[in-house]
Subunit: 201 residues, 2 copies
């Protein structure tokens, strides 16, 4: 049992160290040796958890996506009224953005690798399709409960995902300038004004 916990902790330490190194140096320039030394683990321990640097990279991405999916699921369970749910989501995105601000190179690395490698592509692009169908369900639900206008759910979902992705990309790229902390929340509320049934806003 203690051994299993140690193994979980080792894996987490490797992931954490890799995220930092990839962010700082880029994926190509980061070696397994550097990750091991930053994480304080042996190469044997590394390869026990991850057969390759790419597997590790994809695991980082999958963690990020799973984290976002479980946030979405708890928001869905907690907030029934869809416009309020989307506002709650925007608050959550704010945290995601605060993390993203320091991780510009890592996000771009995910997307960049996706254009070169079909495994990276399926791991980093399919989630958007998944997020789109989650949002489309939410929008359908909002239309049924009367909180949203009878809009095209797939279109509204694609718009939400594009806005989210665009916000992440811009926060990731911009080093200074706007106070991005306020923007997600207010951008979603701007979009919501067009989507909501006026009597329920």
């Amino acid at each position: 049992m203690a051994r299993q916990m140690r193994s979980v902790r080792t894996r987490a330490r490797i992931l954490q160290a890799a995220a930092e190194q990839f962010t700082r140096l880029g994926y190509e320039a980061t070696s397994v040796d550097e990750i091991c030394s930053a994480a304080g683990v042996s190469k044997g321990a590394f390869y026990h958890h991850f057969p390759s640097k790419q597997t590790l990279f994809l695991a980082l991405l999958q963690n990020w996506v799973q984290d976002l999916e479980s946030r979405l699921e708890s928001i869905r369970q907690e907030v029934e009224w869809v416009p309020q749910r989307l506002m709650r989501l925007a608050e959550t995105l704010r945290e995601v953005f605060e993390q993203a601000a320091g991780q510009a190179p890592l996000f771009l690395e995910f997307w960049y690798q996706a254009t070169k490698d079909s495994t990276a592509w399926s791991v980093s692009v399919q989630p958007y399709q998944r997020f789109r169908s989650i949002f489309a369900e939410w929008v359908e639900e909002g239309i049924q409960q009367g909180s949203l206008k009878p809009i095209d759910a797939n279109l509204a979902a694609a718009t939400l995902v594009s806005l989210g992705v665009g916000l992440v990309l811009q926060v990731a790229l911009e080093r200074k300038g706007l106070d991005w902390g306020q923007i997600p929340l207010r951008a979603v509320s701007l979009l919501l004004e067009g989507m909501s049934s006026s009597e329920f806003m």
Copy 2:
């Protein structure tokens, strides 16, 4: 004069060939030799126009930005009513997206280089700040002419740019799926419903 025209054509041929090679192979993997042979020009001619591969890469990006800026400027001159102007912009974006669909790696390359290199950063990130101030002016104009609600112009501009960037990124990454052709137009119109004075929609 004939010589000058030949020089302009040579430069354009190099840019075109480079865009194709970068898209196909990525920036790092593309050599000046390959660009020269794809463009059918000598290395001497290449270096006459571009001191380095990076200069060429930044010229490609600058062309793209200038093209978008002059589209924005002619739309501004042609369409006075701001909601209509934004719809016209969305139609224009549709063309931009059709090009973008085949150039996924090149767009990602721009953004990726921007995280690593401050020259690439200033060339690829500053345009978003510029686009934001153009849109903020448009929104102010719309508020003054009574076509838009008295919303926060900087916020609305940041939302428009994020939506645009997110749409480009998603179109660039997705290989199939949604009919993206319709989406920009309808996404902007969804956003406009929230921004417009109801009496003028």
